[in-house]
Amino acid sequence: MELTSHQQSFWSKYIFSTDHKVIGMQYSIMGIIMAGVGGFLAYIFRYNLAYPGASIPLFGHLSPLQYNAFVTCHGMIMVFWVGMPVLLSGLGNLLIPLMIGTDDMAFPTVNMLSFWIFFVSALVLLASFFVPGGAFGGGWTMYPPFSAGGYLNRSPHFFTALFSGTSLMILAVALEFVAMLMGGINFVVTTINKRAKGMTAFRIPILVWFLNIASLIFMFSVGPLVAGAFMLLLDNVVGTGFYDPARGGDPILWEHLFWFFGHPEVYVLLLPALGVLAEIIPVFSRKPLFAYKPIIYLALVSAVLSVLVWAHHQFVSGIDPRMATFFSIGTILISIPFAGIFLSFMATLWGGSISLKVPMMWAIGFIALFLIGGLTGLYLGSNTFDIYAHDTYFVVTHFHYTLFPDVFFGFFAAVYFWFPKFTGKTLNSALGKLHFWCTFFFFNGTWFLLFFNGLHGQHRRINDYADFSLVMQEPYMTFEKISTVCAILLILSQFIFLYNLFTSLAKAKKPTAEVKNPWNSSTLEWVASSPPPHGNFEKYPEVYRGAYEYSLPDSKEDFLPQSESGL
């Protein structure tokens, strides 16, 4: 079947495009922009934590209310407007159709709508900074009573209540969910229905599997929160009492609805990044992925377990200790499938001919850092320890050690790996390595010492310890300062990446041989030309084997593309 490319106007090609690659780029670029916003907020309140009350360069004086709003929005933005678009929508849109060997998503128009709804949701969130009263500041989990009944932006009038920071944040999150739901339906239908001939279930690359499992987890856990967000909005705008205990409502209900989604969300973010690792590690070890099928089963097990552990976020919310035991056990159990997946990555590295190219460095950095995040997660999963550490910087540090490698290392690994495919150009690898080492070093500098601050009792929502000087004695205040300096350097080192990105994009296109399959990878996306035209493949590929055929003993080349017939 011949696919012809055709001329399109600028608007239909780059703005209101239905091409999965352009939509994937739009999501990724939007994610990078929002990461800039989230990073800037982090810079402001980190500066304030190290030097309370000082005037902050590029911002000025930070009031306690602003501190709360910035911490809240930093969390919101980094999870829902950076992690989700970059890992799930960005990677999913860019790679699913290419990796399964088809021309586009099953519903291209729905896909386009999905991005534009997401875009509007980002605008709504950013607008909340500029309404009277400022952005919502009750924590990214939006627990009532802060988020209900206009506690923080009290207003008796319908319209002022609707355009308060609280309501706008709820609206923005709800819109974002709609966008992601539309994207998720697309991913699953595309993967089930549009695979190339011969692409059987167990020949699909792990990344595509994981993106689909993540989409399914998202779709089946977010529903109750959509209903809950609707109720919360009514509590704010109309004055109902769904979450108001004085009126028969129940604030704990929100915690359940939120975390029934919020905890699976962690795995929604983690699985795509692990999928990226599963693509990169075999390529740079020149070995087949160890235990392909068990990895898929483990991911499915983790998907089931992920909806059974949510109340471990509520150990101090007065839940029954017997229930707490159940959720502790569930939480510790869920480490088993992920330990299995990491073990298989280790086994893939074992005895391989490892080449430390830039994508591989990010992948291994991911494993090293996530290990720390995962192991501290085991401590916190146990309710006895969690009650002590709850809401301290120990928890904050724990989830930054999971989410930062997950979102940023996973994303950068993917960017350095697939950049040649989607642009026809290559990134500078020396700058890439510098970017990696700076990010790796300054990330640890920012966070590692804060484990000790957390164990010492530093609370995550206090902006100034002047009145609690007993908690913040030396060396803890010094740790804060080290952390802040490293955080600023961490943010600055991302400019290495941006510089690399823009200078590489400005260069002329490389010869096809250099960018067609630079890493000698066997999956289908490398069969298409770089960058792939609208419609992706000149001829629909046929698939003859699994995705990870490297270093076969009886083959001339050390890899066999999925689309090559015969041995």
Binding site: K197, A227, T240
Partner: protein, 202 residues
């Protein structure tokens, strides 16, 4: 190592894309209503006095609406049947009847809402709150959010069906009749849950 299997064709047993998409959409919708219904049930079990509030909902209008929705599910099935025979005139007739069913449902619902609002039962029920019956006012919050969200789905279903009828007139997208039917059955199914919960269980 590599298995030399013959080409496994995936064309067999393939569910059409649209149908697959709507199935997933329906699953997502059911979880949304599931969360709402579960929240309601938890409160309902905690507050037995809510049975005195369900007295104020009109079981008669609710029952009529149940029949109307069930009938409209029948008409959309007939529309689907006609679509399979490529009989556009019949499809339009049966689909119009389905839209009419939705319209009757919404008219009934608005009569019902008018009655309840005039009795002082609203989203926040200020009268109940003034007399200290906060818990009872919460019942009405749940009542309005559940039936309101459901009515919104009825409205969306009607709009979608009108759009599909226009498309069919132009001679395209006949397969979407089935998709509208699936969605409409879901709307019907959710009502089958809401009706006993909010009207019958005293």
């Amino acid at each position: 190592m590599s298995t030399k299997q013959p080409h496994l064709s995936l064309e067999v047993n393939k569910v059409p894309e649209g149908r697959l998409g709507v199935w997933i959409l329906i699953a997502g919708e059911l979880v949304i209503f599931g969360g709402l219904i579960a929240s309601y049930l938890l409160s309902r079990l905690r507050y037995p006095q809510w049975s005195e509030m369900t007295v104020h909902t009109s079981t008669l209008i609710g029952a009529i609406n149940t029949v109307v929705l069930l009938c409209s599910s029948y008409t959309i099935v007939r529309a689907h049947e006609a679509a399979q025979k490529l009989d556009v005139a019949k499809v339009t007739r049966w689909m119009s009847l389905t839209v009419l069913g939705g319209l009757i449902f919404l008219i009934d619902k608005s009569i019902e809402y008018t009655r309840e609002i005039s009795e002082g039962f609203t989203f926040t029920s200020p009268q109940l709150q003034h007399s200290g019956n906060y818990v009872d006012s919460l019942f009405w919050s749940y009542y309005y959010i559940m039936t309101g969200l459901h009515s919104l789905h009825v409205l969306v279903g009607m709009i979608v069906m009108i759009i599909i009828m226009v498309q069919i007139k132009k001679g395209k997208n006949l397969h979407r009749v089935e998709l509208a039917g699936m969605y409409w059955h879901m709307v019907d199914l959710i009502w089958i849950f809401l009706f006993p919960l909010l009207y019958i269980a005293k």
